[in-house]
Symmetry: C2
Subunit: 446 residues, 2 copies
């Protein structure tokens, strides 16, 4: 390795300013900036580095005579993506987008990019094969559009917790390694748990229900696992679920909580991510609460009217919903309520007046399901009855059922799929881009 | 089921006040309170219910003549732990601890306790077998002392995120289903991933390191999985890890971040959980920053001075640390720094001056390890070299190593074990009580 491309350690070097702070400096201030090289341009005696950090980017301008010759030489051999530090002098520039440039005095290369990147970070995300991008995901995530999307994701999580904390919810974490399937049928990942078989939890459902007994209102934000055999744009094998459960509440309370939560999240994104959004193509959808509520029966009615043959008890596929959309206002976020009990899990409470339907809802964004919620059954005998009807082995749920002998309160709740929610908000068309490192039937690495 | 013990639905009933709000009511205000029955006392024509909700408890006083006879009858058949609603009139009582009582007008039983609980909630936690409690954990968690502990846990998580958000960290979630072990040796849980073998992640280590490349400073709070064969009071098979990673930083920066984080957490607990702590036996330890820092070599020195035969490269067990504690101030929180590289994972950076030691630290509370951190290696060749020395299959890390070709910044970070941290703060002696539903070699349910 020749001297020029030798790498150095941090040592006593520390960043003094981020790229966004340079504009507030005075002319000739000495600063140390650190980040990665998003571009290098070489005009012989005039060389430019675009230095990117998490706050934005800064232009470094090295002119022969104005900056030391060895620094000019270092820049010549600098490759895009390398991690560097620059000590330099601030030069205020009204016309530069960052308001200031840096004239380098010293350049340290912490880590050289050894290869040319297999895709352009400036290029359109969609013009590069998704698999190529995912194979080098850490590099792919340097892309501006993905930076904005994941900063929005950060705001979503932050504002959800803020909201739930204010509403008196206690944060919980329930086990991901479990003895019995929660939802019955759906596909589970099996584990070797020491000498026994166990499964990865598809949802914290039964645990969060139990905990309403001791904490009343609880929430959990954590991974869920589904051995999903399909290859759609809306399914992951591992996703983040935002789960809530409330004591002394029914599904109407849960819907109200959810729409207020949405409103708070949208409000937070518009304020916290304002600057990034203004320079991005992302359009945050409008939301007005209360959201429209359509019962399952109403949707069926409009489908029948347009000649579609959907029977009571059929699920509503995205294709079918697209058909209703033309007759109803299904453009933004809305609820579909009162689903047939037969297509909802065993713990969902049937309607007290009509057993066929249930106190349940799905939150939809256009044809995408974002969240599912319901009033839950809180009497043991009714729960056992529903388990039997769904062909579940009641004995396997013994550890859960016995809790119902000790006065579990009436309760209701919902789970929101974070990646789907992020898709809806940012307009992503593939759920894989809404996860840092997505997992599906084909992908287990990185 | 006779009429008296029949259960009712929520219907239009909604809580108007929590127990802590009753004291702010006016005399004769009509309120609806909901919760579970923590005790019932029957003096014939005078009956008392202690109603517990997540904010505290309220006394309900039913006197013949003052409250309807059917309500008096209902109270007679009421069992502890049942979930109920009471509509009643507020009676201010200066001498009552809650400042007010309720005279019932109507009583609704949402869910009857069908059995007497197998343990007393008022009893000391330690006087009941842990397994008996864990078998009915949701009920056990109604215990006041555990309520306080898990409310403190909520504050810990909330204040950690608050702090890291302010410091510019981006929240991430990395996959829990992975193709290759991170730490090499340690015990993994294998999974069937569709048609392949995979493992549950022992830590988000390699992913969080990669993400410093795109997000600089990241944190993740999520489950980690370790097939721990031991049955100690300080190990779980599934735990919550608070992970951070910072770009352009070394282990000294990480230690400073961690101690400032601790300070903020303690401050938040003292303010948010003040009221609960004042009526509990929990003593939050004092913390002064900067925390004491002892190098591994210094600890060894004091051990040698007291005649202990611990060699350079040996781990420091709790037993061994107890011996040093008499000669050093190892009473509260402190760091042990500069560990031998040979007993740290491959990604830990050896000291540039002395290869045998590493830029690493453990945060200790007395003899309990709370956190581990280090500067990480950020050059590919050095990483490969360390992997080989530790007998790892370099090819299996290909998906990780290739990221190092694209200018990964120097970085450092740490992981904190949430349950251990909670033990240290609240004085719990068994880590199982620091988890909602603990997992160990013997326990997979509930």
């Amino acid at each position: 390795m020749n001297e020029i491309i030798q790498e150095v350690e941090m040592g006593q070097w520390r960043r003094t300013h981020s790229s966004s702070e340079i504009r507030s400096c005075s002319e000739n201030d000495i600063v140390v900036v650190m980040g990665w090289v998003s571009s290098v341009r070489d005009h012989g005696n005039l060389r430019f580095i675009q230095l990117q950090d998490r706050k934005g980017s800064t232009q470094v301008v090295a002119k022969k005579g104005e900056c030391p010759d060895p620094v000019l030489e270092q820049i010549q051999s600098l490759k895009e993506h390398s991690s560097i530090a620059i000590k330099g002098k601030v030069k205020l520039q009204q016309k530069s987008p960052s308001g200031a440039e840096i004239v380098p005095i010293e350049l340290k290369v912490f880590s050289h990019a050894r290869n040319a990147a297999p895709f352009l970070i400036q290029g359109k995300r969609n013009s590069i094969g998704l698999d190529t991008r995912l194979d080098l995901r850490a590099l792919d995530l340097r892309r501006n559009s993905l930076q904005t999307i994941f900063h929005i994701r950060h705001t979503i999580l932050k504002s959800i917790r803020e909201f739930l904390d204010k509403e008196g919810f206690t944060e919980v974490n329930t086990p991901k390694m479990i003895a019995t399937s929660t939802e019955g049928g759906a596909a589970l990942f099996p584990i070797f748990y020491y000498d026994r078989e166990a499964f990865l939890a598809q949802s914290p459902q039964l645990y969060k229900e139990q905990l309403t007994m001791s904490f009343e209102n609880v929430f959990e934000i954590g991974p869920i696992f589904r051995a999903e055999p399909s290859r759609t744009n809306r399914h992951l094998s591992e996703a983040i679920s935002i789960d809530t459960e409330m004591a002394f509440a029914d599904y109407n309370d849960a819907m109200r909580l959810l729409e207020n939560l949405l409103f708070h999240v949208f409000d937070s994104i518009r304020s916290i991510n304002k600057h990034e959004l203004s320079s991005s193509e992302i359009q945050i959808p409008q939301i007005n609460i209360p959201l429209p509520r359509y019962s399952y029966a109403e949707i069926l009615q409009t489908l029948h009217e347009s000649g579609e043959n959907v029977r009571y008890g059929d699920d509503l596929s995205p294709q079918v919903l697209k058909l209703s959309a033309s007759n109803m206002n299904l453009d933004g976020f809305y609820f579909i309520t009162d689903w047939p009990a037969s297509i909802k899990p065993f713990y969902v409470k049937p309607d007290s007046k009509s057993e066929a339907k249930s106190e349940s809802f799905d939150l939809m964004y256009r044809t995408l399901e974002i969240s599912s919620g319901s009033t839950r059954i809180n009497t043991k005998s009714e729960l056992i009855d529903r388990m039997r009807k769904q062909g579940l082995n009641v004995q396997k749920f013994d550890y859960h059922l016995k809790v119902f002998d000790y006065g579990i309160p009436p309760h209701a709740g919902f789970g929101v799929g974070l990646e789907r929610f992020l898709m809806a908000i940012t307009g992503l068309d593939n759920i894989r881009d809404a996860a840092f490192y997505p997992r599906d039937i084909d992908r287990l690495a990185p």
